[in-house]
Chain length 223, copies 2
């Protein structure tokens, strides 16, 4: 079974710009991708295709950081494409004969168990929502019969598309798949639950949590 | 199997204060509790005890709004207690011989399926995390051997407590259980995914979503 991972390195994670410099944001982005690949490598997924601009450079960086187990387990490839997400993905899907999992690169807490549950559902379309109506993972048993529509409240759009095309669908309910890292507050989740490449990186560059004494809620310490 | 639901009506959801007036916040709080009770009534849970101040008044309000199916299915009771969450719960747990589910009242998107999965785990302690390290549901097979510690990063505290007391534990991975409604941004999740009492209430009082044309992200419309 194949996973497709759209990835953006240049100018990645701009909403973290008040907190991390551009180089740090790009490094965090690639490390989150590594976390996703590590989870995929421990799941039933056999192949991962990264769709990105600068794909050659990214493959080099991945090879240097991923342990051989992940590289051995996952057949990795990269497709150079600078078009918008929907245009690229829908072109790929039209030609795709086998089931495919589209999974975002910014969900470093994704677990192999949850990925296996997603691809284990019997429905034609499995939608794992992200915050604010995003679709963080989308499993398509009959990809050529579907068309993605990311941006906006995409999880509702994907439900509508499934209905309109007479495809069965199910919502996959996962906290960790749902935790996309976009804003400074999201780093809280990564530091609390993360044990992988990206959480280790944040700790190394001095990003920590502090629990506010009054509100008792954890917040990122401003460096 | 029994569920315990700590509930606070007076001064509830103060972080929504810029957006909803006190009466609206209290109404929202009680409607979210109704959503949780409705989900519990469709799950394997047979009994729900609400721990609160003003418990008699709350039972009256619940009776007027919940349909008879929920009231018939769940054995509902209320315990008047104004002490802090940890003190009350730990006193209850010490005497409890049967497995118990502690579930928060502000997770209106909780599904019966997820609740059944939680109580279906074989481990002694099942922890369903909320945002920012909270514990939104906690299932204890041997409650008298555990002690809760809410506030702060409670999900990590609960993992540590399980380890220290030689109890097996597992993290339950649920987006909808994890979506506690505390801040204005959280209302986004409720309006996108909610089909119950609380989402219906928000729509009725004119709280809507608008997708920002530039950022393509949904936000609550300021009334």
């Amino acid at each position: 079974m194949k996973a497709i991972i759209p990835f953006k390195k240049e100018g990645a994670k701009s909403r973290l710009g008040d907190f991390l410099c551009e180089r740090e944001r790009e490094e965090l982005a690639i490390r989150m991708l590594k976390d996703v690949l590590a989870a995929l490598s421990k799941s039933e997924i056999e192949e991962a295709e990264i769709i990105s601009t600068g794909s050659e450079e990214i493959m080099e960086e991945l090879k240097s950081g991923l342990d051989s187990h992940v590289r051995w387990k996952l057949k990795l490839s990269a497709r150079e494409d600078g078009r918008g997400l929907n245009a690229v993905l829908n072109e790929v899907l039209r030609e795709e004969k086998e089931p495919v999992l589209i999974i975002m690169a910014d969900i470093p807490l994704a677990t192999p168990e949850s990925i296996n549950e997603i691809v284990g559902h019997e429905e034609d379309v499995v939608i794992a929502p992200g915050r604010k109506g995003g679709t963080n993972a989308l499993f398509l048993r009959r990809p050529s019969e579907f068309a993605v529509s990311y941006y906006g409240i995409s999880c509702l759009e994907h439900i509508e598309t499934a209905k309109r095309r007479n495809l069965t669908h199910v919502i996959h309910d996962s906290f960790f798949i749902g935790a996309d890292i976009d804003e400074i507050d999201d780093l809280t989740e990564l530091l609390i639950h993360g044990r992988g490449f990206s959480a280790e990186y944040l700790r190394r560059i001095g990003v920590f949590l502090r629990v506010d004494k009054k509100s008792k809620t954890p917040a990122i310490v401003d460096r």
